[in-house]
Amino acid sequence: MDKYTLLALAIFIPLLSAFLCYTFNKPWVRNTVVFVTALIMFAVAGGFVYYLIHSGGKIEISLESLHLPFDVGFIFKLFDFLLLAYIADIGMKHKKPLIVFLSVLQAVALLVFELVGSVKEPHVVFVIDYLSLIMLLLVSVIGPMITIFATGYMKEHEHHQHLEKSRQPRFFAILFIFLSAMNALVMTNNLSWMLFFWEVTTLCSFLLISHDGNEKAVKNGLRALWINMLGGLAFVFAIIVIYNALGTLSLEELLRNRMVSAGLLPVGLGLLCFAGFTKSAQFPFQSWLLGAMVAPTPVSALLHSSTMVKAGVYLIVRIAPVFSGTTLGTMVAVAGAFTFVGASAIAISQSNGKRVLAYSTIANLGLIVCCAGIGSYVALGAAVLLMIFHAISKALLFLCVGTIELEIGSRDIEDMQGLFKKMPFTTVIAVIGMISMLLPPFGVLLTKWLALEAAVKLPLVLICIIIGSAFTLVFWSKWIGIILTLSFHAKYKMEKLPVAMSATMAVLVLAVIFTGVDISMIFNAVVAPFLTESLKGLPETVLNGTNGLWLVSESGRMVGGFSSFYFFMILFLLFLLYPYIFRSSKAELWKPPYLCGANTEEDFKGLEFNAPADTVEHVIVHNYYFAGAFGEANITPWANFIAGAIIMIMFGVVI
């Protein structure tokens, strides 16, 4: 298999499956298609890994070598306008002048750009380096897994909805188009092509969010659409500005510049960052991602983990080396750090599980953006690693919450008390997922640690990250505490889940654990080559992955590090001890919790107590939510205001 086949497979296999899913509305056909596609996509991802390592870390594919009988560039442009027309049509249908306006403005800008002065399209149309590879792996491994999960989930979901005609063909078709666009987006080298794929993901996310078709879904979908169209507009302007500054649309050539002086280039980069901000739902654009919660769970899992929002941070990380160390970089870092602390603070006050996850996604994306803004070796390493770990853990957590929601009919954290008894399998997996989001030795925390160590030179960013991570600890540990609550039960019965769902979760949780244990391998294999390649010639503290991660300063001195391996050993030791502890906890040792001696006679779970006048009352303990200090309604306006100001300052600085 050569690189052309791989490329074609990565883009066209999902498209083909989309077509198949759309035309054949039979569950067994659909399930087979989803499963086979997943296998092929895994294989393609594996093929890319193999191919990339054997071709020296970079695969380039030029237009000529494709030997296409027609002008692809022209076709892309055509599609671009069709897409904008379609979006404008959506805006028209739903009476949203803003969307129409944005799409027309985009179309006009593009048209003017194409007509005035002949645009020289870059030679090399696809470049796959290690960063693309990482994204490819995330998209083509986690994406298909979520679609497999969706086959089980959507059946249950539609069962609850009592639809006359299944809308699953449409759903799966859009999912696959989405994956195809993501794959193409991370490989392309042509900024104007990237714009096209960018807009395809925008459109797909609108279609997926409004999938259920009720009023709320459509409203939130439209919000996602206009915010992302705003980003798309920034992207178009960025293309125009960058072309005027450098005379090329090639991402590679853009990356060859180290930004030193002012001029047009910083403005273009700033606009690209702006586009990235909208797509990754940074403050003040977070509302679309929160609204996206109305969609079926697989959609949220997909939007939050490997696709959509990751496209935004991918773009920012991609161009980060260009503005590394400049004021623009610092402002991007401040914006990201602010999002991190703001979103984490609001997450404390949320009792809706999915909203907590959403805010945590926003916070983590903020941290990625922040690291990209800092742009040093360590910071970029943290950004890339966080992209990987966050994608896996977040996909897992969304699937867990979706499963829990199907079972208990609520996504409120307080309703998840004693979940362990009802669904031990899902609970254990969810807890591992949550722990992997906040505690060492798992990957997400390691990146937070790297981010802190990278941010010591920027006090403002630093204090944001520090306070943000304190907040993070609060909302996760509250949630973990709730779902782990349980009374004594002699036996636990596993819940019955569709195989597609339980298998996906099991695989993902194994992925969380293995990526955590093997962080050095991952770092050495894919992250380190990317960092050395993109930050060539900047002498500074580097990372070294042996048995963990170590920071080595320019002078070769070890200035920080952590061998996560030993700590996984401790965790395993605990797990090994658990069966023993479990067996030695016999029923006769079991006592109800202390309720001041007022436990009722029969109740051994500590749920009821004798109240005055011989009545029986229930014990109800809620978590602290600090609605006064961290309430969403209190913080959001201020946070949006400050974030808006930061973005203004960012543009003010570069202009």
Binding site: K591, P592, Y594, C596, G597, N599
Partner: protein, 151 residues
């Protein structure tokens, strides 16, 4: 084994429960914590939580309403554990013995190990009683072990 035995005697943690006391005995029990008597020198701590306690100190007579609370508290204490009845009321029902709602002394409900008489019991006597109960803990632990071996 000697170490555990010694530790048991040296570290009796106390749960104090007031049944139907006139509060006289409670005042004396709490007086034990004051610098004058300072029970902490014997390792005695008033823990206020049955799950941590070794010795249940009961003052006042048992009545129909607090019987189940008393049982519940005793039940939640981990073995080995002992019960000290402090004051005439806790020993026999005292002056409340003939009240319509009173069941009698603590031994009507729980196995009492040490009776501390007096109305009110003197702090010195209470401390003595607790220490005596502490020295009985080991015996009880042995007995439990044997009972387990037989079962």
């Amino acid at each position: 084994m000697g170490l555990v035995k010694k530790s048991r005697i040296k570290s009796p943690w106390v749960l104090h429960y007031d049944c139907t006391s006139c509060n006289g005995c409670d005042i004396e029990t709490l007086a034990c914590l004051t610098p004058l008597y300072d029970v902490e020198r014997f390792g005695i701590i008033n823990v206020g939580n049955p799950k941590h306690a070794d010795i249940l100190v009961v003052t006042g007579s048992v009545n129909k309403r607090n019987e189940r609370v008393l049982r519940n508290l005793y039940n939640q204490m981990p073995e080995p554990k002992a019960v000290v009845a402090v004051g005439a009321c806790a020993c026999t029902g005292g002056i409340f013995k003939d009240c319509y709602n009173v069941l009698g002394g603590v031994d009507k409900v729980l196995p009492v190990d040490v009776y501390v008489p007096g109305c009110c019991a003197k702090p010195e006597a209470i401390i003595d009683g607790i220490m005596l109960a502490a020295s009985k803990l080991e015996e009880k632990a042995e007995a439990l072990k044997e009972a387990k071996a037989h079962a």
